[in-house]
Symmetry: C2
Subunit: 362 residues, 2 copies
């Protein structure tokens, strides 16, 4: 499946919760599948793009993050559904963000980009879907930040969301995840090259190298590092030195390519937005009431070894929903050593559960 990113300029300025106005808001998105089919809306992880499926050209080595799940004959079947996948407000992959031109100053926003919340991101996507002529979603689905946005959309607009699939999820941002986000933001802001956010765009900060090394540790698990870089070295003289070299290479190989174009202001904007996530926040902190606005069937999946979203966070959401309406939420633990990255790495397993979920819906 060959895909491309398109851009939609919204007809109205966007008003973030905490004030300010964003003029000429743009949404970068991809569209796959049957134009007239029921719509499935896909959202992405915090530091990922909206490239969910397919390849940009025939020789493109890496497909979209849920390519195992989305495509012709796949669990989210593009022969049957119209699939839209949109980049989030604040993200560096083409939607309006700190990299965009501020119409007031005709320069890029940089650190002056308005503070946004996870609710803002969801309202931004709702405006996009309205302008795309989508009356109702058959389903909304996403991993990580995309999972949080999925539940938040279903809570804010219950009649708009027909069903929800949330992978690596919680009903409010988790404390351990907040730790990592604050660490990342602080590292970027303290970097000598950060310059209050007015750094040279495209020149990677040293802090970005540190962050992406920690991403490779924290977002997987002990088990996967052992499996990939340890168990593969047979016992013998210098085996342990070889393992140590493997682990070092794991941290550093491809790091420069990975951080290329990664924008610090966009990271800070997105990570702070995720930290505001709490389904009860807009109801004076009444969490249970916040969760219970969700009306649709929900499939929650958490990865057994995920440090950021341990399965009990998904279970908490399922319990609240099922106390109100037995069977509304289905909670599944994906047994995997992939840690948080299991939300994209375990595509086949996730796809299996999504197929079942869609069958039961129809």
């Amino acid at each position: 499946m060959i895909v491309k990113t398109e851009y939609k300029t919204l007809s109205q300025p966007f008003h973030p919760e905490y004030g300010s106005v964003i003029g000429n808001p743009v949404v970068a998105y991809e569209e796959y599948g049957k134009r007239e089919g029921p719509v499935i809306f896909i959202t992405h992880g915090g530091i990922s793009s909206h490239h969910a499926a397919g390849r940009y050209h025939r020789d493109d080595p890496v497909p979209g993050f849920w390519d195992a799940i989305i495509g012709p004959g796949k669990p989210i079947d593009t022969n049957r559904f119209r699939v839209l996948s949109a980049n989030s407000l604040g993200s560096m992959f083409g939607s309006t963000s700190p990299l965009s031109i501020n119409p007031d100053t005709e320069k890029h926003y940089g650190p002056d980009f308005p503070k946004i919340t996870l609710i803002d991101m969801v309202r931004f996507h709702r405006a996009f879907l309205d302008e795309m002529g989508v009356q109702r979603l058959f389903m909304m689905a996403g991993p990580s930040m995309g999972a949080l946005q999925t539940l938040q959309m279903a809570a804010l607009f219950p009649s708009f969301v027909g069903s929800a699939v949330a992978v690596a999820v919680a009903g409010r941002m988790t404390p351990y995840g907040m730790c990592m986000h604050h660490f990342m933001c602080h590292a970027l802001q303290m970097d000598p090259g950060f310059n209050g956010g007015w750094y040279e765009i495209g020149e990677p900060l040293l802090a970005m190298r540190y962050i992406h090394q920690m991403v490779r540790v924290y977002y997987v698990s002990e088990g996967i590092v052992k499996q990939l870089f340890w168990d593969t070295v047979p016992e013998g003289k210098d085996a342990q030195e070889q393992r140590s070299r493997n682990v070092k290479r794991y941290l550093l190989d491809g790091l420069e390519e990975q951080i290329e174009g990664r924008d610090p202001n966009c990271y800070i904007t997105i990570l702070n937005a995720i930290n505001t996530y709490d389904l009860g926040r807009d109801l004076a902190g009444d969490y249970e009431k916040g969760v219970n606005r969700i009306q649709c069937p929900v499939l929650l999946m958490n990865i057994s070894s995920d440090a950021e979203f341990p399965p009990y966070w998904g279970q908490e959401v399922a319990d609240v929903l099922n106390r109100k309406l037995t069977g509304q939420a289905k909670m599944t633990v994906i047994d995997s050593p992939w840690g948080h990255l299991g939300c994209v790495q375990e595509g086949a397993l996730l796809g299996h559960h999504i197929t079942q979920f869609i069958k039961e819906l129809c």
Copy 2:
């Protein structure tokens, strides 16, 4: 118990495995308890000091790291035992290290300090104990790096070590721990202020701030961050914002004080030494043979939530030993949300098991 650090200059130069000679080697140590009692030797965690018990003066706010375990009437009873706790070779707390004066150049070693291994650290301590007139240890015990040193000592000098207590332990350095060590070393070495190791001593590098924030995340667990900074905030308006502020404060409060005097070359020396640890390394990688050199009763304790030393690593050592001699090793999982730091934070629980272990030995 008021204690002080003393210094012992060894009578012979020290020869690290990988070559070079360290002249005038010095060991910083503390001694507690009954001078004529059986000797218990304590070793410390990688970035900790040898200050294991007591306080330096009456108003000293923080006691030694195992103060819950070592003292009069405590599990390691100073009314009964002579307790020696020594700083490791390469550590910044007074033993010979990159901060020491190189007799050849009359300047501090800095990055020219010889490469050392975990075996070197243990041989260094053995030389120290010999010169202190210790014929045989009743017990050796330590957390984290100290636990690795304990098993390594018992493997290298089986008749010298009467019993071993190893907390947060493995028989070879773990892959996830190696990740963290490589991250730390790389961050320090890439820091613009590092200057190839010839930085201004005492001026903290920015990388040290990043490292110690990650220490506060990686070396605990999700559960403890939740318990301390999350569950303590009652539900309500702005609760989530308060939690986010708590988590940020957790990362930053006291950070400057914590990194004061932390020496990058010492960190790099120690962390690389830990990465060489493998009980089979000096036997051409024959791990089982390496472990099976240990002759004494062994108590292994791992913390249930430890990401760096998950309990199966301690169990692996116990299994090897018990296959040879049933009951030689006792493996205990300490159920705690404290993660790796449980090896010092769970003093009361650890002490309970140590008391039992000593009873069974006598």
